[in-house]
Symmetry: C2
């Protein structure tokens, strides 16, 4: 991961030159630091040092710091979306799909705490909404994949209370709350994570959906 070799190629000038390589290097270095040290710990200078360029160079390839970290987050959220899409296509009943998606969601959050915080806990202090456009889009599509089966359940008249939309939002919010607390207050006397997730899912699904 040292310095990239000077390119031996001569003739064809790449329509987009080594810029793309640099961009990739920056993203890789930034991801490592961001995962290890979080949003505040991933400073422009640290990333630039890790790549071996001046901090100014980052602004050649990214508008600002948030764009770097959001681009990293996009990758991660994209994986979550892929999992959701996969689950959505399985030939199982809607309630099982809902449960699997929520489980996958929580596991994703616990495995990518810094990314999760950036995207779903970032106060308006930290990132202005406009910058998040792409990332928010991905998040929305995750939610849509998730609310699909819920609307199936609602259409089947199996919702005990509320509309399909409110049920979907509540399920999402509840799971978000659990992982958000586990991430931001990790030192508490929490019950085992698996038990918390099970109680949450069993309780909510039993309470919201009739058999």
């Amino acid at each position: 991961m040292t310095i990239a070799l000077k390119k031996p190629h001569k003739s064809a000038r790449k329509p987009k030159g080594d810029g793309h390589l640099r961009r990739g290097e920056i993203l890789a270095a930034a991801e490592k630091i961001f995962i290890a040290e979080g949003y505040a710990g991933a400073t422009i200078r640290k990333i630039a040092d890790a790549v071996g360029v001046s901090s100014t160079a980052l602004y050649m390839h990214f508008r600002d710091k948030d764009q770097i970290l959001l681009e990293i987050s996009d990758d991660a959220i994209g994986q979550l979306l892929a999992v959701n899409v996969d689950i959505a296509h399985r030939p199982i009943d809607a309630v099982s799909r809902v449960r699997l998606m929520l489980e996958a969601y929580m596991r994703f959050a616990l495995e990518n705490p810094n990314t999760y915080q950036l995207v779903f806990c970032g106060s308006r202090d930290v990132i202005s909404k406009e910058k998040q456009a792409a990332t928010a889009e991905l998040g929305d599509r995750c939610f849509e994949e998730f609310s699909g089966p819920i609307h199936e359940i609602a259409a089947a008249g199996r919702l005990r209370t509320g509309s399909g939309e409110s049920a979907a939002q509540v399920l999402w919010a509840a799971c978000h709350g659990l992982v958000a607390l586990l991430i931001t207050i990790p030192d508490r006397n929490w019950a085992p994570r698996e038990e918390l997730m099970t109680v949450m899912l069993d309780g909510l699904l039993h309470g919201l959906v009739t058999d």
Copy 2:
């Protein structure tokens, strides 16, 4: 609380002077700015300007910025605790007490979004855990008041799944998730807040507690 401790006051050396007044002025100004502009917006210099002193003067009365804002938050959380204690003493059944406390909790969060974020969404990036000691204590006592009735329910064998402790944590986390999302992503297409809160409480209580 937060009385200055070391008073080897040999004589009546003016234990109260402008100092105490200033402290109050600073807290008042800081609270106004913090409520309006959040953690990042409540700058030391802004607070000092509002009071009409130099920024250095704040360090006469507070160790650092976090101490100021946490002291403000302590007040607010103290009010929430008072409400919880009040509810805990009402002669109603345990499930109703749980529901009332969770409702009060969510309303508190929505009415004091910046305080709520500082205390319950503050990533370890923002505030090191030690500084939060007093505030965390208050939060713990709120949780204890809340988990009391839950353990009553558990002792009565009315818990459908999980221990009393995990049920309490799940209920708290779920409500936290709802208000946290409403606060941090306010522009979404949310169902009406009252409906979300109702669906959340109905669903969870129905799913976790047997009649």
